[in-house]
Point group: D2
């Protein structure tokens, strides 16, 4: 596929699964529009065909603007096979199920005293979400194997580890990796450290913060961080000490207004505990050690982060639908700003036009020697022509590794439960979750039944 001349660089085929998306899709469109070296076709596939169709319109409008240097043709297609056939790249960003199921994921456990800040990765919400996601990814993996076995697959969907594990289980030779911007946020926080302690006045790009990344998605860590010739660990320590109690935000107090913001207190506390820099948003980090930060609403408030309500997502979705209509009907213009995501840079490097070192989710081939081989882990990798290779990240502190091993085991049990259609395995995973563990067994089982029932529309494959 990738043996292209400069001419052929303009004939790339991208399949977008979840192509009706109103966030990731638009970010991709603008990044593609800003990249002069590439061009081609993006086939948008979505179970909501109308949404894909709207994005087709939006994308083509964007492409036709004279100031846009990256010219792409967007086509909404009605089947997965149509989208994938002959694709060079496959992008997957879907919502597994609807917000109705997500409402159950996040809020059903609250009656039992279990609070989740996101509910899409691990914990009761993440695991049940995973259980309805796996069969979709089985379908994707089989369709990719059938239509474009050499394509590179970029996953943005959560639960990341469960999605990728499912792809690799079904089609072991798949060239898939997973991208997530949580690490970027922590790099940005470190640029603040640089400004404050090194007196750097110019704007610093988060890419100038060099880090060694290790961990699992949303519970990712740095054990090295530097800016130019400066080791940032001693500076971060000072920073944490200074802001530990109060927290740190670029826009002070934002965390009380924005469900996605935090004062980074969880991150600071984790640094004190483990000596490494936790590199994801506080909302995600907290879910891996719920017994510390998520025991009740007061604790969450004390640590200055939020439990994002699904109602907000539902409401926000309405706004996005409205916005998509405005984009499609020329009432509004898609703003041409780089998204900050790296998908297009990664594609460029994979095409052979660049070499890129960045963090990415991949099966563990030994890059983190004290996590299980085959587990989906997040570390740096080198992207070159038709190649994405993990960089050796080294061992995690053993207590952190043991916390991750538990979540890995639970996530892998969910995949196994789905592949073997064995609900009992899913229950084992559920009961072994650290948030669920706090419940008396009868309560825990009751919660499991309830959540399974709430998402049963997507669990027919389990014989439910």
């Amino acid at each position: 596929m990738l043996n292209t001349t400069s001419e052929q660089q303009k004939q790339i085929n991208i399949a977008y699964i979840g192509g009706g998306s109103r966030g990731w899709a638009w970010r991709l469109m603008t990044d593609l529009a800003l990249e002069k070296d590439l061009g081609g076709t993006v086939r948008l596939y979505d179970i909501d065909f109308e949404a894909a169709k709207t994005n087709e319109v939006i994308g083509n409008k964007l492409s036709s603007k004279p100031e846009v240097v990256g010219k792409w043709q967007y086509v909404a297609v009605k089947s997965l096979d149509e989208a994938l056939y002959g694709a060079d790249f496959v992008i997957i960003s879907i919502l597994p199920g609807t917000f109705e199921e997500m409402y159950s994921d996040v809020h059903a456990p609250e009656k039992y005293g279990i609070y989740q800040s996101v509910g899409d990765t691990t914990g009761p919400g993440g695991l049940i979400r995973g259980l309805r996601t796996v069969p979709m990814y089985v379908e994707f993996a089989e369709a990719i194997k059938r239509n474009c076995p050499d394509a590179w697959v970029i996953n943005y969907t959560n639960p990341m580890a469960i999605c990728l594990k499912a792809l690799y289980e079904v089609f072991p030779k798949i060239k898939a990796f997973g991208c997530c911007h949580e690490v970027f946020g922590t790099q940005k926080l470190l640029t603040e450290v640089v400004k404050e302690f090194l007196g750097e006045e110019r704007e610093i790009s988060r890419r100038e913060i060099k880090v060694n990344v290790l961990g699992i998605n949303h519970f990712t860590w740095f054990d090295k961080a530097s800016y130019k010739t400066h080791d940032l660990f001693p500076l971060y320590k000072e920073f944490v000490n200074k802001y530990y109690e109060e927290g740190f935000e670029k826009t002070k107090g934002l965390w009380e207004k924005d469900y996605f913001a935090s004062a980074n207190r969880v991150k600071f506390d984790l640094f004190k505990r483990f000596g490494l820099i936790a590199a994801a948003g506080d909302r995600h980090l907290a879910e891996f050690v719920p017994y510390i930060y998520l025991t009740d609403k007061e604790t969450v408030y004390k640590w200055k982060f939020n439990l994002t309500p699904v109602e907000w997502r539902i409401k926000h979705r309405e706004e996005l639908i409205k916005l998509s209509k405005e984009y499609a009907s020329d009432q509004k213009e898609v703003p041409l700003n780089p998204s900050g995501e790296e998908g297009v840079m990664q594609m460029k490097a994979i095409l052979g036009l660049d070499t890129l070192v960045t963090n990415v989710n991949l099966p563990n081939m030994g890059q983190i020697p004290n996590l299980p081989i085959g587990a989906i882990v997040e570390t740096n990798a080198v992207f070159t022509h038709d190649d994405v290779r993990p960089v050796y990240a080294g061992k995690l502190p053993s207590d952190l590794a043991s916390i991750m091993t538990r979540h890995i085991s639970n996530q892998e049990l969910i995949v196994k439960a789905a592949l073997e259609k064995d609900l009992n395995l899913a229950k084992r995973a559920f009961l072994n979750d650290p948030a669920v563990e706090r419940l008396p067994q009868s309560k825990a089982e009751q919660l499991f039944e309830e959540m399974i029932s709430n998402t049963k529309k997507y669990l027919a494959y389990l014989g439910l």
Copy 2:
């Protein structure tokens, strides 16, 4: 050392550290007395020299009886070096600290709502006990290296994994293993299954129950169990189903009278959860998953096992002291019954007089591929001349492995904390314990301080 003729089989040197012991030491004495092929000297070393001296008298009295076929000379010695110099075997069974410290280990957490059934292996009690044990084992390891580097070392002390890890860290070439009879108890339970379901009428030895052992000490499991040509798994399943609610005891209701007894309900419940046979007493098993069985006293009662109070141990100790005086003064005779322990059989095999397959604690060399290399694990091993080799036990189910990985990490952090004299590492281990995890952080830290303070007589090495 071991190149002995039959004559030399009578000149074996055993060093007994903790030689004033009133349980393990007497068991060894009777087993040695009953074994005709061996003889020699047992040097008894104890920080309570009088206790060792009393055991010298008891042991020599026993040896002089005409009906005793294994003739040994017992000598109480005043220094570790004296005990160890030229030893062929070293036995270690000590109480690390006194019952005063153990009282704190077990009962201090109760004020915080943390209940422990034993408190000597993991959990807050086991970890703090470990912290005072490691420096003692450092001393033993150095003395063994100095005096008898080729000797075989048998450890009976808890916390088993911490004791063995410390020995191997200090003297990596040590030939040490750890023995524990908890597995035997589960084999005995399986003989009841055989009697009930196979109608076997003769007395069955627990050694006739063949098992594949895998796990860590006191959280050990069977994934195969058989009696002659019979696979015991389907029978055990039936047995568990039959007795799940009521529990099973050979002497019904014993668990309400005897602090060490249980109705095996924890064991049965763990079988339902994980599909493997948990192979330790319920009191030990519960401590590895305290969030299930140890949340409060009612739960413990419901599961029909006991929280063994240290007062009982103190009182029982008085009885043993009295008994030891009676033994030493001929008022009573040491009963000549086999102890059921395997130490003497193991020594015989190591001397080359037998081949023995039994369960034992050893560093993981791959016998359990999904636990960390170097962790102290319990599996079967083959004992032959100057040789103890683990048998490949296979992988654990991943959820069980993840539970163990956490305790392994905590126990190894305690060893590291002690070796590097870093109290903060000990605190990390403590806070990562699943029983402690349920406390709010400030409470958890307060408990740590309190327990450290209670055992500080033994923590001078940490600069306390």
Copy 3:
């Protein structure tokens, strides 16, 4: 299958592939006849049905003798499925191809200056033999999966590692292991050491020599050996020094008369080189380091072992056919002596009637940490009810490991070549063999072509 009562112990089904065999089959028959605890049916399958039929007669005659305690019914069957359906055990001992092909394996390379003492394991002969064996084992594996997936499979055929690897590649859950008596011979040699240096006068069984076995089939080693309380390494060293020049044979000079005998000089020389006891016959050992012992006929003569000519095998086969007729027609009686093989003991242990520790060929699960995982290796294993588990054997000296790694790679490439039907891979293996390596490339390729052509009757599957 194995959940049998004592009654059922008499209803065991054994499938014998190669059931017309005139060596292994008779040995099995006598061992079964001497074992009172077992009984049942042996189904004999052979591509030479007449040979199987004759063995049916011989076996049933034996079984009917009053002094025979193990009663079995022998039935010659015409298809593999018929033999395997419902089998508890499967025994495979076949000649892959005929002596015509074996003649080429062994003697074709001689024109090129390559001498082979056996030619059935590695080297040009073993590799080409392997290439025609794999498709047969693919068929066996598929038939076992279809007919008796839970059966235990015992392989006696060479090349051992290639046969077992093929079985495991095709049916990964197969319960197969490989048995070979070469180790026994070295244990017997060690009984001579015991007699000479310890003055032991009674007959010693080779099973009394305890050894740690590690290596690959026919290039197997001991790094520990003991007799009762005696370490045999210092004694063997003395023994080697004493007999190094002259060699040692129980029947002096036998090696000059018997093509299968040797004076153990290769074994002694390997001890001097590597410090471990080589534990196979000299003829086999030499083929793994042909550049030392097999460079020319004079060298072979100097080291006092033999190149076994295939003519001898052909002639000997005539004698065996004659003998089989005599057995079948009552002219002669099958002598009722234990064969010295362990197949029946192993079956007993697997049935749950015993625990056995002995050496066996199995995939490497870590029992030899410095050989590749999955390679077929030979170590001790513990046999119990429905279970064969390797004992941790430890690391090989790195030079020995590197020599083995090469042969393992070659043998595995042959399996891969056969499974992927890629003759070029077979050639890569062939050219990487240490005996072939000495040839100029054109000669090496010519030899490959010639040998392939000689065995082409069995290589149709490669499109030849």
Copy 4:
């Protein structure tokens, strides 16, 4: 050390062991002179102090030129401690022993029919050279540990693997890696492929050829190679087919005039055999499979490469001495051309001024999963601030891996022999070498004795 401001970037301390070198030292000087972002002091240490002194003069002259942007002070020092104390970087490029010993390494085996093209890496020459090198590197490692434990150490000396292994054995926390330009040469060859088959007319830098590097030093391979969007494997295959017989040289026929040149025929033949691109000079590659390319002088000639005679090196050394005098006395000017080496780029990246992905020798942490952990392997690595991390390179084809495993074993045995002062281990390594293996044993041992004797001036530490 590395927490420097831009000012401090001008105060870097480099210790140069072998600072009297007349090749590597001058290359470093010019590269430093051309790099504007760095500056500081280079301390030159050499057992030939005069040579270091001359280089001090040459270096300072160069530094004082107005067109030179990288300003460094060169100081010849008389002791290792003086050179190393407080160093940020340590460069080691020494000749272990003199050309007299090297003469023996290369030419002593010729009488026995063993030909070596270089004789400094493996084979009899490389191994004996290693044996005298290890004690020097033990001294370096101890001195680095004492004087600058955090310094980054760059080794250029051969035998690379033996040198690095010795450093890591003595001081496991050393930050050492090894650099070699052989890979660069193959990248350059691939630029010729690009020119010929893609019609690229502009000059292509070898750094534009992206490769996945895997193997061991001087027996290094590419399993991926690309130029922009082009996979080079199909093109290289065509190239090999075209030039296989004749060979390929940029300057045709050079191989017959220049002892260091070749027609790449070995490389082409290795591609045909193994399907991977061999990535070192033919002279080096041949020494790992001497039975193919080094059996006699005719074979060498046929494959169109050279046996570099040590006489040439001696003569060339005279020229260099003359040249050094001219440089030092202003008769000639050191030409200010980039050397093509990467040392200065690597230092810049380690200082935090850049991110660099390039090939380097490091202990195997799993980057090549089928070579032994801890073996010195060559793969790509990512260089960033105070950090050099290997990139996961993947598995080698098993036959290549087995060839390497043997050389690794031999090289590691040499290190062990030196560290344990056990000449017998060295002999085991020597006898296990594939070139030596072809000799009758008595000859092989005689050669070993002879070569040991020839280098005995450096083997006093072995008690010789």
